[in-house]
């Protein structure tokens, strides 16, 4: 059924939208998808989800498939711009609306939803500078080739350049089935080789968990501080644990981003204008804040930190709020 | 002179397999190379075939020096070989037709593009040239040892060879195929093709050899041209006199061990009875594919009789598999040693000692932990008793000559007492001297029944108290006890059946 009072075609319902993801596994993407699905349900949208499975060629193929299926709009969630730009243009040519999340398709007709990795990194690093001053020995966890990490890396480079007192004593990191434990194994070697590291910037929660595990194994939890990005229920528990060296993380709520992406698509279908740049502001979440508020899960976080749970970006009176 | 070999030597570790051997062959001549197991015959063959290299010595072939580094090079010079091992003839998973044409694929005599029909036609042509009968579309792995030898022979004969080397090609052929094979070799000889021939069957040598060369310990110790005194040659070869006396039949047959009543091998084959008694040696003979191996494997629990009843030592006997058969005291030495008995080279369990101990691990290592000494002792004993030529119990079976490998198989099943010992083609490649010793040992045991399958009627007569002919899966005749007078009769019977 449709929504009474909504502009066409949402008054009748059954609008087809495709959500084409690049990365399928992992909490972030699950939550993003769940948010998108919830918003789609609230809008009576028939959402077709394609799984990119980290395969850029396949994701490109799926855009073509979505065009063949006759959808009204396509939401592209991450991916490789080079692989997508021309097929996105094909979709536009066929009158299909396109929304891109966290992948810069560099096309004025495509609104860009962003959780702003730059902002994430800035928030976390600002807090690190506030806590530790501008001169300290740092460990940095980074693996190149992952777009969000690469963007967060740009900020790290900038902050280092601006604060010559920050010494990057070691750079490590690994992405595998067991990212957290593999990173922990590396972190232990790093801490042994560089006992004077006091700050670790781990801009991905799996990395942060690995570093925390290493610090616990070595019994140096009180000597280091970990700053990260992203958050999940398990992360909250680790951050608030007694003696945890993980002191702050910066994050957006992926479900909110998912809902915003769908709303951007829906508004376009209804004929409204949406801004080209739609930024969902991340929030800084500190250990102190969490402990003080007694937050233990992501839902409680959403309830207690409203900035984390909703976004007023791109919405309209006829769009019902999604429940997630 | 087609081939002349001067001072050829080759050592494997501490074993001097060939020790300055010299030999020559003329065009159109059939030279029999004789020698006890481990004398160095196959080593010589392998060097000529381009499989291994000599340490010293020179070879001239067809007027030019010869130094083949691969089988392909040997074939290009006109030397074609049938090797002793039946494991190296065809490919499991490919058809018999493919096996027949394998070297034609390799040397380009076949067209690049193939069709199933032309392939089959060419393979059939090869078979009809030699007059053998083989199922062309069957998977090669399903062929028995004898059929495999036929494939190898047919393939070799289809080649344009100047020198044909045959290393025990007839070890498990029956009289009929062997006779057909003799005709073929004579035909080649008439066309001027030279043949270097290795066999432990005196019948072969008598039928074919123009000249014999006797090898001992890697050296040529004697040569004889026609007329050939085979007994003398054999005595030179084994280094002791040959006792030509057949062992006598024991007068007292013991208690029955196994009794079969009304058994059928297949649903539509006739039923038969059979009783085997303690202390007797019974030989089962018949043409190739008659069902000898099948009967033995059914008794060993590899499949079931279509009907009928078996009783072992008074209790019903219907083994579900080799494990149960062995537990009941029924053991089988299979006819294809590579497939049925040996662990591959480089893998734990390839040594002589562990090859012998494999069925007895529970008995010899009762606490589960391996006691190397127990099996070393058994192997040392076997090496001495059967005259196995080896560097020791820890030597790999793959370092043994063909005949010595076969002795290891026999030693395995002789290492512990059993009720019924079954041997399928037990003397393949075993030299005359060793065979006599083994036969004597087999016959000296009165605590078990022995049933052996052989395609050679002579051999059956030589070893058994009783000879049973099998044809198309039925037992045909149990010959009366006096074997010598009946030898011609069995031979005739054989011909008639074939």
């Amino acid at each position: 059924g449709g929504i009474a009072g909504a502009p066409a075609p949402f008054d009748k319902g059954g609008v087809k939208i495709a959500l084409i993801g690049y990365i399928s596994a992992g909490d972030f993407f699950q939550a993003y998808q769940a948010g998108a699905e919830a918003q789609a349900k609230a809008l009576g949208i028939d959402l077709q989800v394609f799984q990119g499975r980290q395969d850029a060629a396949q994701q490109r193929e799926q855009v073509l498939q979505a065009i063949n299926l006759g959808v009204k709009a396509i939401v592209i969630d991450h991916g490789q711009p080079e692989a997508l730009a021309d097929v996105a243009q094909q979709a536009l040519d066929k009158g299909i609306k396109v929304v891109a999340f966290d992948v810069n398709l560099n096309n004025p007709a495509i609104p860009q939803v962003e959780q702003s990795d730059h902002r994430l990194a800035e928030l976390a690093l600002d807090q690190a500078l506030k806590d530790n001053g501008t001169a300290f020995k740092a460990g940095y966890v980074y693996v190149a080739g992952f777009a969000p990490l690469d963007r967060r890396n740009e900020i790290w480079d900038k902050v280092k350049a601006a604060n010559p007192g920050i010494v990057e004593a070691a750079r490590f990191g690994t992405v595998s089935d067991t990212t957290a434990t593999a990173t922990a194994d590396q972190a232990k070697a790093v801490f042994r080789a560089n006992p004077d590291i006091s700050v670790v910037f781990a801009p991905y929660d799996e990395f942060a968990r690995g570093v925390k595990l290493a610090a616990a194994d070595l019994g140096i939890q009180d000597k280091v501080k970990i700053y990260s990005a992203d958050v999940s229920t398990a992360d909250i528990q680790e951050i608030t644990e007694k003696g945890s060296p993980w002191v702050a993380t910066a994050a957006t709520n992926p479900s909110v981003v998912g809902a915003v992406s769908i709303r951007a698509a829906a508004l376009q279908i209804a004929g409204d204008q949406v801004p080209h740049q739609i930024v969902v502001e991340p929030a800084l979440i500190t250990q102190k804040q969490l402990r003080d508020a007694g937050v233990t899960t992501i839902d409680e976080l959403a309830k207690k930190v409203p900035a984390f749970s909703t976004s007023t970006a791109v919405t309209a009176s006829w769009i019902p709020a999604a429940a997630f | 002179m087609l081939l002349s070999i001067e001072g050829l030597s080759r050592a494997f570790g501490s074993t001097q397999a060939l020790d300055a051997a010299s030999l020559s062959i003329n065009r159109g001549e059939v030279v029999a190379l004789m020698g006890a197991n481990g004398a160095g015959k196959s080593t010589l063959v392998k060097i000529l075939a381009g499989l291994i290299e000599a340490d010293a010595g020179s070879i001239y072939f067809d007027g030019r020096p010869y130094h083949a580094k691969s089988p392909a090079e040997a074939a290009a010079r006109g030397i074609v070989t049938v090797h002793q091992s039946t494991d190296v003839i065809g490919i499991p998973g490919m058809t018999v037709a493919d096996a027949l044409l394998l070297d034609q694929f390799a040397d380009g005599r076949q067209p690049f593009f193939l069709s199933h029909r032309s392939l089959r036609r060419r393979a059939a042509a090869i078979l009809s040239d030699v007059g053998f009968d083989l199922p062309l579309d069957r998977d090669f792995s399903e062929l028995g040892t004898a059929d495999r030898q036929l494939v190898a022979i047919a393939r070799a004969l289809s080649n344009q060879a100047k020198l044909l080397i045959l290393d025990e090609p007839t070890a498990s052929l029956s009289a009929r195929e062997a006779e057909r094979f003799y005709q073929m070799v004579r035909g080649l000889k008439a066309r001027g093709i030279a043949v270097l021939y290795i066999s432990h069957r005196t019948a072969d040598l008598q039928a074919l050899a123009d000249r014999v060369v006797v090898l001992r310990g890697g050296r040529v110790v004697a040569q004889q041209a026609r007329p050939i005194d085979l007994v003398k040659a054999i005595e030179t070869m084994i280094g002791r006199p040959l006792s030509l006396v057949h062992p006598q039949r024991r007068t007292v047959p013991g208690r029955p061990v196994l009794h079969l009543s009304g058994v059928r091998i297949f649903n539509d084959t006739p039923a038969f009875d059979l009783t085997l008694r303690e202390g007797e040696v019974v030989a089962l003979t018949g043409v190739l594919g008659a069902g000898k191996s099948r009967l033995l494997s059914l008794l060993f629990g590899l499949g079931r009789f279509a009907s009928g009843r078996a009783v072992l030592d008074g209790a019903a006997y219907a083994p579900s598999g080799p494990a149960e058969a062995i537990a009941r005291g029924v053991v089988l030495a299979g006819e294809d040693r590579h497939r049925a008995s040996f662990i591959p080279a480089g893998w734990p369990g390839e040594s002589i000692a562990s090859t012998i101990s494999l069925p007895y691990l529970r008995r010899w290592h009762p606490h589960g932990i391996l006691r190397e000494r127990r099996e070393q002792a058994a192997a040392t004993d076997a090496i001495a008793r059967l005259g196995i030529k080896a560097t020791g119990p820890a030597a790999s079976v793959w370092s043994l000559s063909g005949g010595n490998q076969q002795k290891v198989v026999l030693a395995r099943w002789d290492a512990e007492p059993s009720r019924l010992l079954m041997l399928d083609e037990p003397f393949q490649g075993v030299d005359v001297g060793a065979r006599q010793d083994i036969i004597a040992a087999l016959r000296s045991r009165t605590d078990r029944a022995t049933l052996l399958a052989t395609s050679d009627p002579e051999e059956a007569l030589e070893v058994a108290d009783r000879v049973i002919v099998i044809d198309r899966h039925r037992l045909l005749e149990q010959t009366p006890p006096d074997r010598r007078t009946n030898s011609t009769l069995i031979g005739a019977r054989h011909e008639e059946l074939a």
Binding site: A57, E61, Q80 | V88
Partner: protein, 343 residues
């Protein structure tokens, strides 16, 4: 005239039931495939269109091409674990050639194929000359390449404007002609990668199943000693198989690079798994129970149809792997499990 009793040739003279069983065994993959197509078409009419069929083939083309290479190494009794890494590093090599070295499409393709051949020769050297077991040799090549591909760019993906480790900026760009390899279609219907897949399939099918060369490849895998004794150059045959599989993997990498238009850092692990899966499923096709090129292609298409159909039905990604596994298990159980009574 064969008068002998033949326990294994019973199939031709046997009851109808057994013949049916045998037919089922040979046809089970095709039956399952037909069933899938039927179900998906009923539930989602858009499934059974020419465009979607081409999408499916397009999606499986790379895996099928790499899979045929793996199949050839399986045929010679080996196993190439490095194909995924070769394909992944070919993607990097192609992008590097264009973006950093500023080469054109032809030079790039030639360079990447040459790279594949070199890797194949390296594998062949390890396996044939140094006698390193196949799995071991290709596994180390896999690690080598997984690392090697990252070194020229210090782990970064390659796209226009890349900053090189020495701080300078790459000046080249991706040649549109190169992109056409992955993105253009013949007569607006047949995507070029699909055409390449069909060509590779035909050539390799004929080569392996219909020529004496193919016989020797299988013979080498079945019994290397016997094949050498028959005078075949088994070493060269095995070497050939590895060079072929690495070249095909490089071709697969070229197609991927042309489709995504940049050099993306990836381990190639999923390409390896998927192409191995295709060649292994191929064993079951036509009940052959051995590596075969035709089966590999069918296997790849089979998985492609399954995943495409499930996606169209909006099945969550985590059920897709499970269903893939379940369908695979049933196909195998039917192919191998049936007919066991006959022995």
């Amino acid at each position: 005239m064969n008068t002998r009793r033949d326990p294994h040739a019973l199939a031709d003279a046997l009851p109808l039931a057994a013949q049916l069983r045998d037919g089922l065994r040979r046809g089970v993959v095709f039956l399952l495939l037909a069933a899938l197509v039927l179900i998906f078409s009923v539930l989602q009419p858009a499934f059974l269109t020419l465009a979607n069929a081409m999408s499916i083939l397009q999606a499986v083309a790379v895996v099928a091409i790499i899979g045929t290479g793996v199949t050839v190494t399986l045929a010679v009794g080996g196993f190439d674990l490095s194909v995924g890494a070769v394909a992944a590093s070919s993607v990097m090599a192609a992008s590097y050639a264009m973006i950093v070295l500023d080469l054109g499409a032809f030079a790039t393709v030639a360079l990447v194929l040459a790279f594949g051949i070199v890797v194949g020769l390296f594998n062949a050297l390890l396996i044939v000359r140094l006698k390193v077991p196949d799995l071991l040799a290709t596994l180390s090549t896999m690690f080598l390449l997984t690392g090697l591909q990252l070194i020229p760019t210090a782990g970064r993906s390659i796209s226009a404007g890349l900053i090189l480790p020495d701080g300078s900026k790459a000046t080249g760009k991706v040649d549109p002609l190169f992109l056409a390899i992955g993105r253009s279609s013949l007569f607006e219907t047949l995507p070029l990668p699909v055409l390449l897949m069909i060509l590779v399939a035909i050539v390799l099918f004929v080569l392996t199943e219909r020529t004496r060369f193919g016989r020797l490849l299988f013979a080498t895998g079945g019994n290397e000693t016997a094949t050498r004794l028959a005078g075949a150059p088994v070493e060269r045959l095995r070497g050939f198989a590895y060079v072929l599989s690495a070249s095909l993997a490089a071709l697969g990498g070229i197609i991927v690079a042309a489709r995504i238009g940049r050099g993306d850092v990836s381990s190639g692990a999923s390409l390896l798994m998927d192409s191995v899966a295709a060649s292994l499923i191929g064993f079951a096709v036509r009940g052959l129970r051995r590596p075969n090129v035709g089966g590999t292609i069918v296997g790849a298409v089979f998985v492609g149809v399954l995943l495409n159909g499930l996606t169209m039905l909006n099945a969550p990604y985590y059920t897709q792997d499970f269903i893939k596994g379940a369908v695979l298990v049933s196909a195998l159980a039917l192919t191998y499990g049936i007919n066991r009574k006959m022995r």
